[in-house]
Amino acid sequence: DTAVSQTPKYLVTQMGNDKSIKCEQNLGHDTMYWYKQDSKKFLKIMFSYNNKELIINETVPNRFSPKSPDKAHLNLHINSLELGDSAVYFCASSQKNLGTGELFFGEGSRLTVL
């Protein structure tokens, strides 16, 4: 069983569209994250949820809206996509507040905006 799974793996879309990426973890973790990996490979945290509560909300455009229906799921919705949104988005989970320091990652969702 995949511990952290995200869908879709690849997403190609036009500017201005709205799209969502879903993430689910079956590790029983309390905390989930969304990271953006840009073309230079930097991993930047976007959001973090602890037991459905938003705890980290970095400076990202408000076109990005995370939703956590329960602690095993953290979805990312993006409105009015722009070229600069093209990146790989990684979902991750951890014990509460990085208790052991280990993040468990999904395989990434590569978003290409044309």
């Binding site: 930047k44 320091g101 280990e102």
Partner: protein
């Protein structure tokens, strides 16, 4: 601002060569340190971590890293690499001030058979 720098973006080695990947961070407080690896087509996974104690830590697949506090460094080493070590390696630092992970830009390692 806190940052993590990995000096080499690309490293190409032959099998059996020794490996050292550099990682330096800028933060004066207490840190926990990590190396993650991403094999081609796979997700990021933890290679090793340092929390406290012996500054020389051993991870999976024969990797080790040494925390040198005075140099703010946590370099990754392996005495003899294999073709299967071809991957991207990321250094990350957990700050005690806000419990956020700061990531390096990664080093792409290619091992020639």
């Amino acid at each position: 601002a806190q940052s993590v720098s990995q000096h080499n973006h690309h490293v190409i080695l032959s099998e059996a060569a020794s490996l050292e990947l550099g990682c330096n961070y800028s933060y004066g407080g207490t840190v926990n340190l990590f190396w993650y690896v991403q094999y081609p087509g796979q997700h990021l996974q933890l290679l090793l971590k340092y929390f406290s104690g012996d500054p020389l830590v051993k991870g999976i697949k024969g990797f080790e890293a040494e925390f040198i506090k005075s140099k703010f460094s946590f370099n990754l080493r392996k005495p003899s690499v294999q073709w299967s070590d071809t991957a991207e390696y990321f250094c990350a630092v957990l700050l005690d001030s806000n419990y956020q992970l700061i990531w390096g830009a990664g080093t792409k390692l290619i091992i020639k058979p």
